[in-house]
Amino acid sequence: MPAINLSKMTAHDPRVFDLDQLSLRELNQALHNLAPGSNETAWEVLHPKGSHSVAVGVDQPVAIDVRGSVGYYCGGMNSGSTITVHGSAGPGVGENMMSGSITIKGDASQYAGATGRGGLLVIEGNASSRCGISMKGIDIVVHGNIGHMSAFMAQSGNLVVLGDAGDALGDSIYEARLFVRGKVDSLGADCIAKEMRTEHLELLQGLLDRAGVTGVNPSEFKRYGSARTLYNFNIDNADAY
């Protein structure tokens, strides 16, 4: 385990963490040491250079601006903080997020928002395969396209895609709602297009507003969700798998 050299921190603005000079461990420990009500509410991370696990497990309502691209699991298990990555994100950004928000200014790799339970994940570029896999309540808004097998086994929450979706969207989906504005290459097992009722248009408008999307009308989207035919096993459905 790397040692924490707190004395090095005094040479810097306490809100600015340069990962060229301080370790990932020091960054995350400092974020975890924040007491409720701390006035250190604005943080800036410099030179992330693809580091994994940047700002994971933060549980205070602080704003964290990451200046550059990050590796795996940025903002993992985030609870209440507002993270902005001014770059792209590697696999599993915002995995199992509980609350708060994460915005990726660039693209996101695989498994963005995997198993997320709450909060908002916004990807201003494209997201790769398995976006929203096993999501459990998180809201995800992707400005661009998403890759194949997205929302696989998605349990709850909303996935909004302004662009296109790849193959097998929503395979084995449970109760999550999927809204796609562009084309869907194919739907996965038990995922079907569904009627867009007033309540869904309102929900979608709210999601677009929260994600800062303007000039886009909810009526441009199609809604997808579970046909619920695989919820209880039936041998005659075996060829669906």
Binding site: G57, P91, M98, T115
Partner: protein
């Protein structure tokens, strides 16, 4: 008087035996594979095929009841700043709330705590029953991530990344609709009453290089305090152990095919994975080859029943064992007291394994509010503690007879095997010979 040709005795096929015939009829009638709980029921090479040599002229024993024989073990000292210290090298394996009732989980916590050991969550999140009554609780990190959250991660005493389990290496969890009660559904963020089939792969990593990054994330979230275990089914124990060590695990858990499950396909349980005995030496060898034996701890589970099994596993190089099925039996599972009700379910005490149906007469593998009242968590916890203590005393008895002042000083040289198969798997001589099959070229 006429001569009658003597008939031959009716003869049943060894290949198409009664069980096989009944399974064919069952499959044809229902159109679904057989699902059950528990582990492999077939006869397998096991610890029964090993014997201790005991003391003799060249080895002198310790006095039973007088000379100390240490049973403690520390798990997770490789990287964790707060490793787990156990009084006994027998832990309680992961079993989910959902598959087990709340009172059963509480009883496991109570029993483990009384005996000075840890218990483990399962594929359903952490309940207050078990956190509140478990002094040391291992929190499983599973592909489904049901109920996963950073608060529980931080209030766990260790984290176990589950890659697989012995009953079904390569298979995900299964909990059928009968057991998805309101509480279970809420904890798993699922609709009530559906047949829940968990993912078999983790959603956000694949392969050993990703696992290393995932372990780093879990350490960062928990400030490097918690020991991180990696649990694998008994598939490729040498490589799985080596890769878990490479990925940064503090503890490797290898679960052989006798290890139980709440529910999966019978065909999976009986035909995938290796026996526990076959998994131990390859796992130990991997640790030794990496120079990590006793630095990364090895826990083995699957069919551990008594202190002799514990002692044999430790003699083969294991640091601790885990029990699941045996712990449930100590709580009251399959107790003949409920024989009439087992008969009503078409089975008998000792054979009941339809745990997925949620109608367990013993009140353990159920979410039925009336049935689960049959488990008194305090009394059942006491029975589990008694059982754990008996196992420990038995293991000590053997260790002292072998002249060891610690269970962890037992060694392969204390053992012989009764069968060629067990000798080959355990890497100890066939009894009465100096032959270890597979060693020295033959």
């Amino acid at each position: 008087m006429t001569y009658r040709n003597p008939p031959t005795t009716p003869r049943k096929s060894a290949t198409f035996d009664d069980y096989t015939l009944s399974e064919i009829r069952r499959a044809a009638a229902t159109g679904i594979y057989d699902i059950r709980g528990g582990g492999a029921k077939r006869k397998l090479p096991h610890f029964d095929d090993l014997l201790f040599l005991g003391a003799s002229i060249s080895r002198y024993p310790l006095e039973g009841y007088r000379e100390r024989c240490d049973t403690s073990v520390v798990l997770g000292s490789r990287h964790a700043t707060k490793p787990i210290e156990l009084k006994i090298p027998i832990t309680i394996a992961g079993m989910s709330f959902g598959s087990l009732s709340g009172p059963a989980k509480e009883a496991l916590g109570r029993g483990a705590t009384l005996a000075g050991t840890s218990t483990t969550t399962g594929d359903g999140g952490m309940t207050e029953e078990e956190r509140g009554h478990s002094k040391q609780l291992v929190y499983q990190y599973l592909p489904s991530r049901y109920g996963m959250n950073p608060r529980d991660l931080r209030r766990a005493d260790a984290i176990e990344v589950v890659v697989g389990q012995g009953a079904k290496p390569g298979g995900g969890g299964m909990l059928l609709g009968q057991k998805i009660s309101d509480r279970v559904a809420e904890m798993r963020t699922l609709p009530k009453g559906i047949d829940q089939r968990s993912a078999s792969r983790h959603p956000d990593w694949t392969g050993p290089d990703d696992l290393e990054i995932k372990i780093l994330e879990l350490r960062e979230i928990t400030d490097w305090e918690k020991p991180i275990y990696v649990k694998v089914g008994g598939a490729r124990p040498y490589y799985d152990t080596a890769l878990a060590v490479k990925a940064g695990a503090d503890v490797v858990v290898v679960d052989g095919m006798q290890g139980g499950t709440a529910a999966t396909q019978e065909v999976f349980i009986e035909n995938v994975g290796q026996p526990t005995l076959a998994c131990i030496r390859p796992a130990v060898q991997a640790l030794q080859d990496l120079g990590m034996h006793r630095k990364v701890q090895l826990i083995v589970s699957g069919g551990i029943r008594n202190g002799a099994d514990v002692a044999k596993a430790l003699a083969l190089g294991v640091d601790a064992v885990s029990i699941g099925t045996a712990a449930l039996v100590a709580l009251g599972d399959n107790d003949p007291h409920w024989e009439a009700e087992y008969n009503e379910l078409g089975t008998t005490a000792g054979a009941y394994d339809d745990w997925h149906e949620g109608r367990d007469p013993a009140g353990i593998t159920t979410q039925d509010p009336e049935l689960m009242k049959r488990v008194d968590p305090i009394a059942a916890g006491r029975r589990l503690a008694n059982y754990l203590k008996v196992m420990t005393l038995e293991a000590q008895t053997i260790a002292r007879a072998c002249g060891k002042n610690s269970l962890h000083n037992l060694e392969p040289e204390d053992l012989v095997a009764l069968t060629i198969e067990a000798a080959a798997m355990a890497g100890v001589p066939l009894a009465g010979t100096n032959w270890i099959p597979g060693k020295n070229g033959f």
